[in-house]
Assembly symmetry: none
Homo-oligomer: 196 residues x 4
DNA sequence: CATGAATGAGAATTCATTCAT
DNA sequence: CATGAATGAATTCTCATTCAT
């Protein structure tokens, strides 16, 4: 019933990111989003089932684009190490370039209810899979440790990146996220222990 | 004004964990918590400023206990490697023993508003500091890489553990979290790359 | 402004009866009626002033036809008693043949607002008059009690028939309405008391 | 959950009758009823499940009282004829004394949705049963025609009374309803036909 | 004549908090 | 200290109607 494409569909999603980033999730009423998108309240419901659907669609489209951008960059390099480096770089780069997106995805949208968070989880599947393929490639090339669960490696990598970005947002993005690319890469690659 | 000790204070916190774990954050009204704690609605306000204060207090007391328990265990062993291993073990052990606590801290309470989440951040300070001390100790002993920001190492370690527990809860705690202690330790210690 | 004839005018009225009978008055949106009539929403407003006008027109045309059909049958017989019998028979017959009409006129449309109900009242005028003429004819022929208010007699007759049909519809039209023609005729004719 | 007794319960029902009689069913918002009852909007929901529940409860309590009052009067006389007469008298008397009640029960509440109307039907059961018992008594005493379905007789009697009151209300209660007691009694008792 | 995307006013309900007892 | 009945602000969603095409 709800049309999931079109100029206004995009306008509403853009407005939602902006409004939520500025006002916080719990203070982002439908009316506010509609006004920002320059449409009537009722128009929202021509494009979305309900308010939750805005958030789910928002996260889904943005994370899909996110994964696509990262993949494009990764595909340009050949070695697993380079691919890993580019993954970290792009993950940070995208959020560094779009603070509103960072605020909304790392902080605000996580305040939504269980159902939304579940749907949101699904939107990350593509990105999760991307990381797993990277890991599998590295293991196959003999560059990454084998014998360890791929999903666990992915979880570790994602956990580090996600926590790093969240911390950065919580600290009001006062420092340059991209300066962390190198050290984070080093930690993920070499672990914490020093080999004598 | 609100007295933050006493039998009923504890009863209310216990009730809150139970009610939130069972009903979800957004479906845990003050009345429900009061009923579970076997007190009147108004009594809640003799012990807490407002509803948010319940959540903040809840998180604070639980995370304080959490950090204390982990520290006790860490203090029993001597080497940085052993301490790191015990940290991972205890982090997982505590949540494995208290599923309600896991649900509430990893999932539900994160749906709360910005202010609560900020206060919650503070409650983690003690635990964060604990990890940082562990890292500093390892660096000082020459066992962990030096030259890398300690806070970043802590962030990485915490990010991995947090993401791992969250994933486990999201998967309905269907597998044994403790089986991940060894591989996670290995990944944190050695990183992802294989040294020839 | 609104043209009250034409193929689409009829199609919309037919659609309205069907939609209201199926979905209930409060769940029969203009869009639903338009779709059933295979016209655009806006087209409705070329033929009707507003939504209420659909209902009023619907009731008016249907009740006009109703009165016409009954009159045709009544005119075929001569005595007041026979006319009364045919009135009852036709009243029940028409609804027995068109369940949707019965549902809409006896139940659903009565949920409409005061203004509509007022206009609806007017639509019954013709039928009320028909009954009154029948009564007057009977009194004049010396077959019906005189000295009693004609309007009251009409009200009584109509009240009985209306209540009987409404009860039948409420009972999901599970029994044969026409089996009630004889006993109802008897009651109207002879009253409740037995003369020794 | 909702308390169905108490001072405020009654106050809200009284307010509802007044507000609905004055403003019409579709223009009687919860806020209006609350203000008339001198309680807060939220208080309504301590005593009623939802808005519909107000109407259902209203109709139920009023019709129960209605049946009770009628029964008390009927019980004072002995013959079926006298009982029938008292039934008609009381039915009209109660509405003649409480115009608001008449408006609400005869006109406004019938605009409510199917579910309410169904529950309302149940509330009339007691009164319907009262009439049926009267009819059965008359038949048994040999005063009323036997061989005719009791339910049908009840339906006829109720239909006449209901239609008469509705007509009176629709005509803005401009005439004296009680003047109709005698002729209506005569019609119900003797029917329309004159016996030579 | 016909379309259907867009409009925006309007209302029921929830629930954290208070305060008289 | 404890109670719990009462409060009332705040927000999503529906749907009759319009009007540019």
């Amino acid at each position: 019933m709800a049309k999931k494409t079109g100029e206004k569909f995009e306008a509403i999603l853009d407005a939602a990111v902006k409004v939520i980033a500025q006002n916080g999730y719990h203070n982002s009423q439908v009316t506010k989003i509609a006004r920002e998108a320059r449409v009537a309240d009722g128009t929202i419901y021509l494009y979305f089932e309900n308010k939750d659907d805005i958030l789910v669609s928002l996260f889904h489209t943005r994370m899909d684009e996110f994964a696509t951008k990262v993949k494009q960059k990764i595909d340009l390099v050949d070695t697993p190490e380079e691919k890993l480096y580019q993954l970290i770089y792009m993950h940070f780069k995208i959020f560094a370039l779009d603070h509103n997106l960072a605020i909304v995805t790392q902080i605000e949208i996580r305040q939504s209810n269980r159902r939304i968070r579940n749907d949101i989880g699904k939107s990350l599947k593509k990105y999760h899979r991307l990381i797993e393929e990277l890991v599998e490639f590295g293991v196959q090339k003999g560059k990454f440790h084998d014998g360890i669960d791929v999903r666990l490696m992915r979880q570790m990598i994602f956990g580090i990146l996600d926590e790093t970005v969240s911390s950065w947002v919580m600290k009001d993005m006062k420092y340059d996220l991209l300066e962390l690319v190198d050290p984070i890469y080093f930690l993920i690659a070499n672990g914490i222990e020093r080999k004598s």
